[in-house]
């Protein structure tokens, strides 16, 4: 019955027609905001043929993001973060430090989190911890002319790269702060121990630990 009521209320979200609601069992929450993903890179060496110690660094990316949370009971929730695709710049490091940007790649981490929310369901402030699984999809890797030049390619035979998409676990720390009975602010930090492999069209590969941290801040609505 409760679910039916909520379902009926969905079209009214934008009109903000809402009844009082806490983070109780069966509550749905949607949120929108921003996320910054910062990889904590530990790069392996590019395999031969290469200059010994050829490494890469990966920059951070900020994007609009949000998510949907469902309260399974008063403490346990399931959360799906959503975001527009991130784009990370990849630069030379180690023996090739100083060459600047060698590629960029789009990344879309799809994560499913199980969360435990502390305090009472009606508390204005509810910290939580989460544990989940992430599928990090890397696509549209685009090499720069610099990568082509330093890998022996030419503009007519450019060096391209692919980055393997990978599964990884994710841990989360976060908290929500109720503004009123419907609106809340949500802040969370997630850490994903993620390793992947980059492959160049010239045949070399590079293992790289990305271990991204991401910080999200969002405004949410309960219904």
């Amino acid at each position: 019955m409760k679910n039916t009521v909520k379902f009926l209320l969905i079209p009214a979200i934008l009109a903000c027609a809402a009844a009082a609601q806490a983070q109780t069992a069966g509550t749905w929450m949607v949120r929108g905001g921003g996320t910054t993903i910062t990889p904590n890179v530990s790069s392996g060496d590019l395999t031969a043929p290469s200059l010994a110690g050829t490494k890469a660094s990966v920059g951070s990316s900020s994007r609009l993001s949000g998510g949907i949370t469902y309260m399974v009971d008063n403490n346990f929730s399931v959360d799906v973060p959503l975001a527009v695709p991130f784009q990370h710049d990849i630069s030379g490091d180690g023996a090739i430090a100083g060459v600047g940007k060698i590629a960029d790649v789009k990344a879309l981490p799809a994560t499913l989190l199980a969360q435990w929310r502390f305090m009472d369901a009606n508390s204005a402030f509810r910290p939580y911890v989460g544990l989940g699984i992430t599928y990090a999809a890397f696509y549209a890797a685009r090499s720069t002319s610099t990568l082509t030049a330093i890998s022996g390619g030419t503009p007519s035979n450019p060096t391209t790269l692919t980055i393997d998409s990978k599964w990884a676990g994710t841990v989360q720390l976060g908290a929500s702060f109720a503004i009123d009975k419907r609106w809340f602010v949500d802040a969370s930090y997630t850490y994903t121990p993620l390793s992947t492999t980059t492959k160049l069209s010239t045949g070399q590969t590079q293992d790289i630990k990305l271990d991204p941290s991401s910080f999200s801040l969002a405004i949410g609505y309960k219904f």
Binding site: F7, P49, L51, V84, G152, T159
Partner: protein
Amino acid sequence: MKQWKWAAVAASCAVILAGCGGASDGASTTPKTIAPSVKVFGDSIMDSGTFGYKFTIQSADPANPFLIFPEVVAANFGVPKLCSFFNFNAAASTFVPNTACTSYAVAGGRVNNLTNPPAPSNTVPWSITYQMAVGSASLAPTDVVIIDGGGNDLADLTGAYLGATTPAGIGAYMTLLGTLLPPATVSAIIGTPTATSLGTAAGAYAQAVGQTLAASVKANVVAKGVSKIVVVNTTDITTTPRFQAILGAVAAASGSAQSAAVQGAVRAWTQALNASLAQGLAGTNVQIFDLYTEGARITATPGQFALTNITTPACPKVTGGISSVGLAALDYGVTVQACNSASMSTNIPVGETSANWWKSYAFSDQFHPTPALHQLIGQAINLQLAKAGWL
């Protein structure tokens, strides 16, 4: 209802995932710097076809020739092809200029071409300083210029030094040194000839070669306001199959200590040449590419560069790859003819198993790199230029 909501969640995820799907991997093919022209001055390792071919393994596909290292660099400055300004007419034994071409490098090129037996003159295209003097007139400040020189000078020097064991040999050696150093200086250094004094004189000569090259680069290229100049210094020629054979002969005749001493001496002269070249260009905008160090790095760790053989030339491994006079040298037509990608892949030599065996060899003939080694040198230069913000 719960199912409906989960379906909605799944659908929104799918929409977001689909919204980004379909974009495939790719590359930016626009160079960071596009040069109107890449001009090249030097010797055989930079010769794009003065004699009708490049001094490396030939590509059996004329539409896709192998790139020598200045061509690897030029392509990344947006100049996909280099051709030779000087074109040798064998019948007339003359060089015919092609003013549409910008590679002035000529195989056999010397900084001091007075030591070149068939054409001892510094006003012929074998003279690298002459090449620069000719090319200087049309240099634009936005051109990219690549210069090498010194390898053949050191080969001449070493040959004369090894021959300086008789009075006639010492005389010829002092004559060679006197083409660049004042004869009085040569006599003063050598005094009563000893191995040490003869070697010291060679070091002075090598320094003079470096100074001459630096002075020519400054006068003909730097003075024209060219902002992107690369000077490739001289590699350690003692690691080439040609000099390994010479050192082997020295070892057989006089022992391995003598062979090691000769190798040490040639290396010292090479470093003297490179040091005076660097000193002469100090304070200019020239990027000196240290081929000596890069070559040593490749020689020390060939596997890191996917090379399996850095001592044996690849061409003699196939039928016809060694000339009738027993030389695996790309200045012999038969060697050039035989030494191409198709013949090499078809005739897999004993001890090799892959049709690509020759792609992991460093030397094509006794003295010249394979396309694989050219690519490694080219990308190493590109790396330095990328660090300088040029590529």
